[in-house]
């Protein structure tokens, strides 16, 4: 992404250090107005630290942060969090237990000296929006996890901040509630139409909620793209592996067989794999990633000649909606996940096939 002064948030060459540890090492990205961007990565990758730096809760070492074109951080400049006009939903919810639900939500409005009558109206409509309309007078100390989550949400958007930041807001909920809230959050995002930056380590959450995803590891950005781009065309082994399970296949280039922009690799054991480069460059050796769900499995040899191989089922693991097969293929193991109809047994011979566009060339 280019550094864009018109963006809602622009982060440039951000470096954040804790003592001797460098948590974020040179991160650059921007968030467009109205966009929902997610920072995705394993724990310790610097995503939360980056978010907190945008919020103003961490002081970076170097780099630049702009909000609506205004410089809020650069060496020598540090606008405190309370004057950046952002808002944030915390992982712990951070609901004040000594206040009522109403007072919690009204806080940001009262800070801004909004007239009490307007406070009442806006808090009520915010509580309605998160479906807590009748809980206003309840003490915040007596709320369930899901309710706290909703209060935190209402409190964060009630004063119409320019950007809403989310720090793993769903990670403390149980799986079922999390799936529910994910849908609700998306719905809410659409209704209030606010720019948001979301941090999570949960792939499904990221894919569901974001317009664009920034995948991070060890304080650097591995890939930036739309959900589909990240999922279908991972840039390197880390992203391929982190964003859903993938088989990695290494091989020597067979330039003699390449045509129509396809890349062809020959594995050490001799299998030929046709794949797509997506504008990436490959050397004499290269690596493909193939999602386990993109591989097809069948008893009969499918039509066509590209990327069809014979294999044998070594182990079958039933996973509910999907069944995962570990196959002996080309002197190694390859993993396929497919829906559970007409299951193959362990030891059965089978044919594995994949469309070349799903064999994604990785950068190394």
């Amino acid at each position: 992404m280019t550094h864009d002064e018109a963006a809602a948030i622009a982060v440039k060459d951000l470096v954040i250090r804790y003592g001797r540890i460098t948590a974020v090492r040179g991160v650059t990205f921007s968030v467009g107005a109205g966009e929902h961007l997610t920072l995705l990565g394993p724990s310790g990758c610097g995503k939360t630290t980056t978010l907190r730096a945008i919020a103003g809760l961490e002081q970076p070492e170097s780099g630049e942060i702009r909000i609506d074109g205004t410089l809020v951080f650069a060496p020598g400049i540090h606008v405190p969090a309370e004057r950046r006009g952002l808002s944030m939903v915390f992982q712990s919810y951070a609901i004040w237990p000594h206040m009522t639900v109403f007072d919690n939500v009204a806080y940001g409005l009262r800070v801004r000296r909004v007239a009490e009558r307007e406070v009442r109206e806006r808090v009520r409509s915010a509580l309605d929006l998160v479906k807590l309309g009748d809980l206003g007078e309840r003490s915040a100390a007596r709320l369930s996890g899901g309710q706290q989550q909703r209060v935190a949400l209402a409190r964060a958007f009630v004063f119409s901040p320019s950007v809403l930041l989310f720090d793993e807001p769903l990670s403390n909920l149980d799986a079922k509630l999390r799936a529910e809230m994910r849908v609700e959050l998306k719905e809410l995002q659409r209704r209030i139409g606010i720019t948001s930056v979301y941090v999570t380590h949960d792939l499904e959450e990221a894919l569901a909620i974001s317009d664009r995803i920034v995948v991070m590891r060890d304080g650097v950005i591995e890939q930036i793209g739309t959900s589909a781009e990240i999922y279908d065309r991972p840039r390197n082994t880390f992203v391929a592996d982190f964003v859903g399970s993938a088989n990695l296949i290494r091989g020597r280039r067979r330039l003699d067989l390449e045509r129509d922009g396809m890349i062809v690799l020959e594995t050490a054991a001799g299998a030929l794999v046709h794949g797509a480069a997506y504008g990436r460059r490959a050397g004499a050796e290269a690596l493909f990633a193939i999602r386990t769900v993109h591989l097809r499995l069948g008893r009969e040899r499918p039509a066509g000649t590209l990327n069809v191989w014979a294999a044998r089922v070594r182990r079958r693991v039933f996973q509910g909606d999907l069944t995962q097969y570990h196959l002996d293929w080309d002197d190694r193991e390859i993993v396929v996940r497919c829906t559970t109809v007409d299951p193959l047994s362990e030891g059965d011979p089978a044919f594995v096939s994949v469309e070349p566009r799903h064999c994604v060339l990785l950068e190394e």
């Binding site: 919020a55 103003g56 809760l57 074109g69 205004t70 410089l71 809020v72 400049i77 540090h78 606008v79 405190p80 969090a81 309370e82 004057r83 006009g85 952002l86 808002s87 944030m88 915390f90 992982q91 712990s92 951070a94 004040w96 237990p97 000594h98 206040m99 009522t100 007072d103 806080y107 940001g108 800070v111 801004r112 007078e137 003490s139 935190a152 409190r155 964060a156 004063f159 930041l165």
Partner: protein, 566 residues
């Protein structure tokens, strides 16, 4: 054009204030200690200030006082062993057995702490002084010879201190026993070890570091204890380091440098102790306290539990009830005696105590000082603990260490440093209540900081950060979020500071001026110069005044804090 919002007041403001307040508080701690060390190195005329010459003679001279150090060691060792014994037994009974009334008993175990060593010493002196002690009177009436017990001995001092510190040891050891994961013991039993073997091989090794930590902590406190050794030791000319220092300072001519050298040595030893204690405690917290919530299994001890209940009640009786009854009893007599006679009862002691201007003004001064210390203290210490544990200010750790320093320095020794430090201070506060206020605020820093930070560390940092994200300035979020959440800690700290200030002796006895007396030193003076009975009355009046002040404050505070929505 770039729109640049430059940080104005909000960010560097608290930072600057933090540096200032932290620095000043640290200076208040270090300033007297500097003077203490200077005094200990003065080898010229002992009265000269600043010293005429410097040298180590005061330290090399100390072996002449070897017996005093030996006395201190004997008292501290005996008292520590006894106190840990009390604490261990009570801790085990109340956290690991099904003794009846556990919950209530646990609350009562704090009471011995509120019967201060001074009260304990006065009471036990009445009970067990060799000539007039009540117990010895009874002994002689029954035909015994001489005396049954003698409290004016090292063992008497150790006994009184142990009853007091037993409550501290109980809290520390009880906490360790409670935080122990019962599955560790269950695992041993599942693997076939019997109850005794499990106790010996699993339970004991696990609680041992905690017990050791408590022992070191109590031992360090004993080394610096003053009041019991003064009341019980002075009549028989038995001195420990603190009382010897007091003697050297208050005799004529005073021998300040020698006293200072003693104080420096004592503090050095206590400092090492506290250091070791903190090491043990921090190492232990990784082992037994796993952060999981569990209730340790209470062992069913059958009928033995009534015996154990008796043990608990026995300790409370000896440490709380007996001393209080003794003092009440003595305060209503013309001449304290074990055998009640109708014509011996009188209210005259109270009438005298309350009519003496010196007592009245001392009591009033103490209450005012207590109020001032507690009120200023919670603001100051609340801010300091916020700064240490929340602000992420560089150097906060160093400041914490400095502020905890008074913990390792006996209050008498600290006050001695202050005596010198503030005598030469350009603002004339020496001999006024202001000096005492500064002294209390300084010596009680660790007490207040520990109480408040205990609560502060339980408050999740994001509660403040979310207020910040809502746009609240530092002052606004302090007022609406941090302070209200901290309120239990602040209230507890206020009460502790108030009680501790009103009952303070070691610092007050050196620092109070003739025109600005406070009550506890006045009680000690009365003990040595007027009658026992009058002193008993004064001690009770002090206790009642503290209780009344607290009751009044509670009533006022409850009304003031009943906010809508709560």
């Amino acid at each position: 054009m770039e729109r640049v919002r430059r940080p104005r007041s909000a960010w560097p403001g608290p930072r600057l204030i933090s540096v200032l307040v932290g620095g000043v508080a640290a200076a208040f701690v270090l300033y007297p200690i500097g003077f203490l060390i200077q005094a200990s190195l003065s080898v010229g005329d002992p009265q000269a200030r600043p010293p005429e010459a410097y040298g180590l003679e005061n330290f090399t001279d100390l072996p002449r006082y070897a017996h005093i150090f030996w006395n201190t060691l004997v008292v501290a060792v005996v008292a520590t062993v006894l106190a840990i014994g009390f604490g261990f037994v009570m801790g085990w009974i109340l956290s690991r057995t099904n003794v009846p009334g556990r919950g209530v008993l646990e609350q009562f175990m704090a009471l011995p702490y509120y019967v201060t060593p001074l009260m304990g010493a006065l009471a036990w002196s009445l009970i067990g002084s060799p000539s007039g002690g009540f117990l010895n009177q009874v002994w002689r009436a029954l035909g015994g010879e001489g005396h049954l017990i003698d409290m004016n001995t090292p063992y008497g001092i150790a006994w009184v201190m142990a009853l007091f510190e037993g409550s501290v040891a109980f809290v520390m050891i009880g906490a360790v026993m409670k935080s122990m994961d019962p599955s560790l013991e269950e695992a041993s039993q599942v693997l076939g070890a019997g109850r005794a073997r499990t106790m010996l091989r699993i339970t004991l090794p696990l609680v041992l570091p905690g017990v050791l930590g408590a022992a070191i902590f109590v031992f360090a406190e004993m080394l610096g204890s003053f009041s019991a050794a003064l009341v019980l030791g002075l009549p028989s000319r038995f001195y420990v380091v603190t009382t010897a220092m007091y003697q050297l300072i208050s005799q004529y001519p005073p021998r300040f440098p020698t006293a200072a050298a003693m104080g420096v040595c004592l503090s050095a030893v206590m400092f090492a102790m506290v250091y070791v204690y903190r090491r043990i405690v921090s190492a232990r917290s990784y082992v037994t306290i796993t952060g999981k919530a569990y209730r340790p299994r209470a062992m069913n001890v059958g009928r033995l539990r009534f015996v154990l209940l008796g043990v608990c009640l026995g300790y409370l009786g000896i440490a709380v009830v007996l001393p209080l009854i003794t003092i009440v009893y003595a305060s209503f007599q013309r001449l304290a005696t074990a055998f009640p006679r109708a014509d011996n009862f009188t209210l005259a002691n109270y009438a005298t105590a309350l009519s003496l201007d010196a007592v009245r003004s001392a009591l009033w001064n103490s209450l005012v000082l207590g109020f001032g210390t507690a009120s200023i203290g919670i603001l100051l210490m609340g801010f300091l603990s916020w700064m240490i544990y929340r602000s992420r200010l560089p150097g906060a750790g160093v400041i914490e260490y400095l502020l905890m320093f008074p913990q390792a320095v006996p209050r008498l020794v600290f006050a001695f440093g202050m005596l010198w430090a503030w005598l030469i201070f350009p603002i004339p506060i020496y001999g006024t209540l202001w000096l005492l206020l500064i002294a209390y605020l300084t010596v009680f820093l660790p007490l207040g900081l520990r109480t408040i930070s205990g609560v502060m560390l339980q408050i999740d940092r994001t509660l403040e950060e979310s207020a910040q994200m809502c746009g609240a300035s530092w002052g606004y979020r302090m007022r609406t979020v941090t302070m209200p959440l901290l309120r239990p800690g602040l209230v507890a700290a206020w009460l502790l500071l108030f009680i501790a200030s009103v009952r303070e002796l070691g610092a007050s006895i050196l620092l109070m001026g003739p025109k600005a007396k406070v009550i506890t030193p006045a009680i000690v003076e009365s003990w040595f110069s007027t009658s026992t009975e009058l002193t008993a009355a004064m001690a009770l009046i002090q206790t009642l005044a503290v209780a009344a002040a607290l009751a009044l404050l509670f009533a006022v505070a409850r009304r003031a804090t009943q906010l809508p929505g709560e």
